[in-house]
C-alpha cells in the first residue's frame, strides 16, 4: 500500500484525449542514447563527454542535464507504475498480466473512496504520460544545430501544421483538376462531414503541438482549417481534419413522452410534479375540458398579480389548448413567482401528451419544457449578501 500511495497521484494537471499529431519522440532518449552509445569500434569508450563539453556552452550543458533528469524521472515513474499495477492486481485477486487501466481505476475507486465533487480531484493512478505534461523531444543536437528546419520560428510545430494545410490544399486542387479534366461527371464533391463536432479549443491545440499560441495565431489556424474543410474534395482528408475536431455532447436524449391515462369517466389526463426554486407543484391536465382551472381549490385568482396569471396561461395558449383542457393544480412553498413558474412547467410537461411532435419541439424551443435551475445564491462571509459588499471605505 505504501508503494501504491506514492504512485497514486492526487493530481494537478492531467492532459488526456487527443492523440498527439506530433508524436513526440520518447523524451530525450535519442539524445542520451547518442551520448551513451557512441562507443568506438575498438571498444574503449571515447571520452566523448570530455572532448565535447569544451565545445558545448554552459547553457547547452545545463539544458542537457535537465533533459536527462526529466528523462530518468519519467522512466522511474513508469517503472513504479508498472510495478504498482501488478501489486494492485494481486491485491484485487486479478491476473496481473491482463490488468487494464479500467481495472486499475475500479480498484482505486474501491480502495480510496472519495466524496469529492470534481472527478479530477479524486485519487487516480494513471500512466505517467497521462499525468505529467509532455515535453518536446530534443530540438537540437549536441552541436546546437536544430533538427527542425523551422526551429528558429520558435513555433516549429505550429508553422509546420500551417504549411501542411497549404500543401494539402494544393493537392486537393490538383485532384479536382484531374477529375474535371477526365470529365468524370458522376463524382460529385461530397458534403461536409463536420456536423456534430467542433474545433478543439486553444488549450487542446497547445497540448497537441506542445507549443503555446497567441489568440491571433489560434484564430488564424482555425480559419485556415475552415477554409480547408470547405474545399469540395476535403472529404479525402477527413481523418486529418477530424484529428482537430471533437464531437459535441450527444443530443439530449429524446425523453419518452408518457402515454395519456384515462380516469373513471373515460377522460384522458396527465399528471406531473414540477419544481421551481423550493416550491413544488402537482399538476393534472384533463382533456375534453372547457378551460376550467383550479389552483389549491380556488380559481385563477389564487394568483393576484397579472404576471403570475400570464405564466399559467402561456403554455396553454402557445399550444392552442386554451379552453380545450382543464387544469387542476396544487402548489406550496416559496413565493408566488416560484409557484406560478412551477405550475407552468407542470402544465407544459403534461401538455406534451396531448399535442403532436412539432408542437412539442416548438415548446422546447420556447423554453417551456426546461427546468429552471436557478436557486438563491449563498451569502458569503465578509459580504453583506450574495453579491453586495459592505461599504467600501477609502481609508
Amino acid at each position: 500500500m505504501a508503494v501504491l500511495r506514492e504512485l497514486v497521484v492526487f493530481p494537478s494537471k492531467c492532459f488526456r484525449g487527443v492523440r498527439s499529431y506530433f508524436f513526440s519522440a520518447p523524451l530525450f532518449q535519442n539524445g542520451s542514447l547518442k551520448l551513451n552509445e557512441s562507443v568506438s569500434k575498438d571498444g574503449h569508450a571515447l571520452d566523448f563527454e570530455q572532448s565535447d563539453t569544451k565545445k558545448m556552452s554552459k547553457a547547452m550543458k545545463s539544458y542537457m542535464e535537465r533533459a536527462k533528469i526529466h528523462d530518468n524521472f519519467i522512466k522511474q515513474q513508469l517503472h513504479e507504475y508498472n510495478i504498482g499495477k501488478r501489486h494492485l492486481a494481486n491485491m484485487m485477486g486479478k491476473d496481473p498480466e491482463f490488468f487494464t487501466q479500467t481495472d486499475v481505476d475500479e480498484a482505486i475507486r474501491y480502495l480510496f473512496p472519495s466524496g469529492l465533487f470534481d472527478p479530477r480531484a479524486r485519487p487516480m493512478m494513471k500512466h505517467p504520460d497521462e499525468i505529467y505534461p509532455k515535453r518536446k523531444a530534443a530540438e537540437f543536437d549536441v552541436n546546437g544545430r536544430p533538427y527542425h528546419s523551422l526551429f528558429y520560428t520558435s513555433k516549429p510545430n505550429y508553422y509546420t501544421l500551417m504549411h501542411d494545410l497549404a500543401v494539402k490544399f494544393k493537392q486537393l486542387d490538383r485532384h479536382e483538376d484531374k477529375i474535371i479534366s477526365r470529365g468524370i461527371q458522376n463524382q460529385k464533391p461530397t458534403e461536409l462531414f463536420l456536423f456534430g463536432s467542433e474545433w478543439i479549443p486553444k488549450q487542446k491545440i497547445e497540448n497537441v503541438l506542445l507549443e503555446s499560441l497567441t489568440d491571433a495565431q489560434y484564430v488564424n489556424l482555425i480559419k485556415t482549417f475552415e477554409r480547408f474543410s470547405q474545399h469540395p474534395y476535403s472529404v479525402i482528408e477527413k481523418d486529418f481534419i477530424m484529428q482537430f475536431r471533437r464531437q459535441l455532447a450527444a443530443q439530449v436524449e429524446i425523453q419518452q413522452v408518457p402515454e395519456l391515462m384515462r380516469d373513471e369517466s373515460g377522460r384522458p389526463y396527465m399528471t406531473y410534479n414540477a419544481r421551481r426554486k423550493t416550491s413544488n407543484a402537482t399538476v393534472k391536465v384533463i382533456g375534453q375540458g372547457t378551460g376550467v382551472i383550479s389552483i389549491n381549490e380556488t380559481d385563477i385568482h389564487f394568483f393576484q398579480r397579472e404576471q403570475d396569471k400570464k405564466q399559467i396561461i402561456f403554455p396553454l395558449q402557445f399550444s392552442d389548448m386554451l379552453g380545450k383542457v382543464d387544469v387542476v393544480a396544487t402548489v406550496d412553498g416559496c413565493g408566488t413567482s416560484a409557484q406560478s413558474g412551477a405550475i407552468r412547467l407542470g402544465i407544459s410537461m403534461c401538455l406534451r401528451s396531448f399535442v403532436n411532435a412539432e408542437t412539442i419541439e416548438r415548446m422546447r424551443l420556447a423554453g417551456l419544457l426546461s427546468f429552471d435551475p436557478r436557486t438563491r445564491e449563498r451569502k458569503k462571509p465578509g459580504q453583506a449578501g450574495a453579491r453586495k459588499k459592505f461599504t467600501w471605505k477609502k481609508r
Binding site: I293, H301, D320
Partner: protein, 367 residues
C-alpha cells in the same frame, strides 16, 4: 354619441329593446338594456352604482346594464308576489365584484317603474366605516346619530321618490315633537317630515326613523307599496366600526340609531312590500372575509334577524354573458386591440379574468 332610443330596432344580439325591467324575462339573459340619463340621475345620484362602473358608463356614453339571471329571478318573484302575505326577504350573495350592486340597481329601476316607494341604502359600510361625525342620540340612550349621513339619505330618498310622493300624498299618523317649539302634527304630509330632516341635521336621524315607521304603516294600510333595497346589509352586524367614544372604546354598528331603523324595516312584520338585500365580504373587515355565503357574512345576529330569507347567488359570467360583455366592449371601442376581438383573444381574456366581472373590467381597462 351613439344612443338607442326606445323605438329604434336593435339588431345586435347582445342588446335588447326591452327597456322596462318589469318585462325582463329569461330570453333577455346576457343582453344589455340602456337606462336613460334622466332615470339614472333620478335613481342613482345619491349612490347605488359602483364607482368604477359609473365612471366607465360615462366614458362609454350611456349606462347599459346587463340583464343577468339573479335579477331576472328576482323580477319574476316580485311580479308574482302576494302582497297580502308578510314581506319576502331576498338576499343576494356572491364573491366581491360578481355583480350584486348592479343587480340591485336593476331591481331599483324595476321598483321605480312598478310604482313602488324606494327605500334605498346605496352602501351601508359608508355609515359604519366612514361616518362624517357621529353624535350621541338625545332620544335613545346609549345610541348614536348620523346627522350628516341622514341628511344625505333624506335628500337621496326625495330625489328617488319625488314625483311618486307627490302623487301618493302620504300623511303622518303620529305627532313628532322635536323640541319645545318644533313639532310635526298628525296628518301633516310626509314631505314636510322629510324637509324638516333635511334642514335640521340635529333631528335628521330621528326623521329617518320616523319616515321609515310611517312608510311601514302606510304599506300595512295599503296606501303604498314599499321596496327596500340595501347594499352591504351585513355591515350592520360588523364586529367594529370607526366610531369611538371619548374613552376610545369602539361603537358597534348595532348601537347606531340608523341600524335600528333599518332593522325594524327589514323585519317581516309588515306586508305590501319587498326587501332585497345584498351581503358582501368587502363590507366586513378583513377578518370576516373567508366565505361569501350569507350565514357566514350575516353572523348569528344577522341571520336570526333575516331568517327566513331567499338566498340568490350572483355567480361569475356564464359563457354567453361573457361573450356578450366582450361584444359590448368591442362595439363601444373599449377593446381596441384587433387581437382582443379574435377567438384566441377572448379565450385569453376569459381565462385571465376567470370570468369574474370585476376582474374582466379591470383587465380590459387601459390603466
Amino acid at each position: 354619441m351613439i344612443r338607442f332610443s326606445p323605438t329604434e330596432t336593435i339588431t345586435n344580439t347582445f342588446r335588447t329593446n326591452e327597456l322596462d325591467p318589469i318585462n325582463h324575462r329569461k330570453d333577455h339573459d346576457g343582453r344589455f338594456y340602456s337606462i336613460s340619463q334622466s332615470v339614472k340621475k333620478q335613481l342613482f345620484s345619491g349612490g347605488g352604482l359602483p364607482k368604477e362602473y359609473k365612471e366607465l358608463s360615462e366614458t362609454l356614453n350611456g349606462l347599459s346594464i346587463m340583464v343577468r339571471k339573479p335579477a331576472i329571478e328576482l323580477i319574476t318573484y316580485l311580479n308574482k308576489t302576494n302582497f297580502d302575505a308578510p314581506v319576502n326577504r331576498y338576499v343576494l350573495y356572491g364573491k366581491t365584484g360578481s355583480g350584486k350592486s348592479v343587480s340591485l340597481a336593476h331591481i331599483l329601476h324595476y321598483g321605480s317603474n312598478a310604482g313602488m316607494v324606494l327605500v334605498h341604502v346605496p352602501w351601508v359600510p359608508n355609515w359604519v366605516r366612514f361616518p362624517k361625525g357621529c353624535t350621541p342620540s338625545v332620544i335613545h340612550p346609549n345610541k348614536y346619530d348620523h346627522p350628516i349621513e341622514s341628511v344625505e339619505w333624506l335628500r337621496h330618498f326625495s330625489t328617488q321618490n319625488g314625483p311618486l310622493m307627490q302623487k301618493l300624498e302620504l300623511k303622518t299618523t303620529e305627532t313628532y315633537a322635536w323640541s319645545k317649539r318644533e313639532m310635526t302634527a298628525v296628518g301633516s304630509p310626509l314631505s314636510e317630515l322629510i324637509d324638516l330632516g333635511m334642514n335640521r341635521a340635529k333631528h335628521a336621524t330621528d326623521c329617518v326613523t320616523a319616515l321609515l315607521c310611517e312608510l311601514k304603516k302606510a304599506a300595512l294600510s295599503k296606501r303604498c307599496r314599499v321596496l327596500v333595497v340595501i347594499d352591504g346589509f351585513n355591515s350592520f352586524f360588523s364586529p367594529k366600526s370607526r366610531v369611538r367614544r371619548e374613552d376610545k372604546s369602539i361603537v358597534l354598528p348595532t348601537e347606531f340609531v340608523l341600524t335600528d331603523a333599518f332593522l325594524s324595516l327589514t323585519r317581516n312584520d309588515w306586508n305590501n312590500g319587498a326587501i332585497v338585500v345584498s351581503v358582501d365580504a368587502s363590507a366586513h373587515p378583513s377578518e370576516l372575509r373567508e366565505s361569501p355565503l350569507p350565514r357566514y357574512q350575516l353572523g348569528k345576529q344577522g341571520f336570526e334577524h333575516l331568517d327566513p330569507f331567499i338566498p340568490i347567488e350572483v355567480p361569475n359570467y356564464s359563457e354567453k354573458e361573457f361573450h356578450s360583455q366582450i361584444d359590448y366592449y368591442v362595439e363601444r371601442n373599449w377593446l381596441q386591440q384587433p387581437k382582443a376581438r379574435t377567438e384566441r383573444g377572448r379565450a385569453e381574456l376569459s381565462f385571465t379574468s376567470g370570468n369574474h366581472p370585476l376582474s374582466l373590467m379591470k383587465l380590459v381597462a387601459p390603466y
